[in-house]
Structure formats: structure tokens, C-alpha cells
Subunit: 81 residues, 2 copies
């Protein structure tokens, strides 16, 4: 069966996010100052061939751990459709 995993890889909450800070500043200069804070990471959509949802989630976790996320600076979250 084919599953779709939606993965977010985000900078750890304890770390500064300079890209997010830059975007927040740009939004303020555009007059959209109601946006108080921005954090920016990656969103990845994976199509995974697996026998069931549990296996699909496991494959997504292995992909995150081995390649997609850097645990020193990032955390990840997985949602399975």
C-alpha cells in the first residue's frame, strides 16, 4: 500500500532562527507587524510503500533520523495520511 507522510523539520526551540527573524523584519517593513514571531523549517511530503501505517511511520522515522533532520539543530514531526 502507498502512504503519504508529511514531515516538518524545524529548528530546535532553544536555538535562534535567523531566517525567521529576517522574515519577521521584512513583514514588519511591509506593514504586517501583527506577525510577532516567525520560525522557518522544512515541510516534506513522502510517498512510502509499506504493508501498513505502522511500517510506513517507521520508514519515515528512519528517513528523518538518517538523512532529513540534523538532531543537533532540528526536531522533526511526522503526520501520516
Amino acid at each position: 500500500m502507498m502512504f503519504t507522510a508529511r514531515i516538518n523539520v524545524m529548528p530546535l526551540r532553544e536555538l535562534l532562527d535567523p531566517q525567521g527573524k529576517a522574515v519577521a523584519g521584512a513583514l514588519e517593513r511591509l506593514g504586517i507587524g501583527q506577525v510577532r514571531e516567525v520560525r522557518i523549517g522544512k515541510h516534506m511530503i513522502l510517498k512510502i510503500e509499506a504493508s501498513g501505517p505502522q511500517e510506513a511511520r517507521q520508514i519515515a522515522e528512519v528517513a528523518c533520523t538518517r538523512l532529513l533532520a540534523n538532531p543537533v539543530m532540528e526536531y522533526f514531526e511526522i503526520a501520516l495520511d
Copy 2:
């Protein structure tokens, strides 16, 4: 009130996603060939000051339209917590 908007900005479905293709190839070389397709975009978390959820969503939409997404190559989706 403070709202949290979670925004995905993704490459349009009709377009090639070379970064996703590269990651899919790397996963296969790592022995995670069950991942058949990868598409990669951005995930952004915005803290928005607004009087209600409708206004917060509107602000998020303006931010996407004016800065965060490039409609020629990308689409966006907004989820409000």
C-alpha cells in the same frame, strides 16, 4: 489575542522538484527505497496578534501573498491553532 499559524509553502504539483528528487535518490542509496517520491517545501510557524481567528487567518494570507510564497512556483496552505 495571540494565534499560531502553521504555513506550508510547497512547489506547485505540476513542477519538478529537483531538491526532492535528490533526497529520494539519497534515501534509496541509504537502503530506504520504500520512499518512492519526495517533495520539499517550507514550513513556517507565525505568532500573530489579532482580535480573532478570522483576522489572524487573513493576516497570514496577506503575509503569504505578499512575501512568503511565490505564486509562479509555489502554493501555500494555512492551518490556525
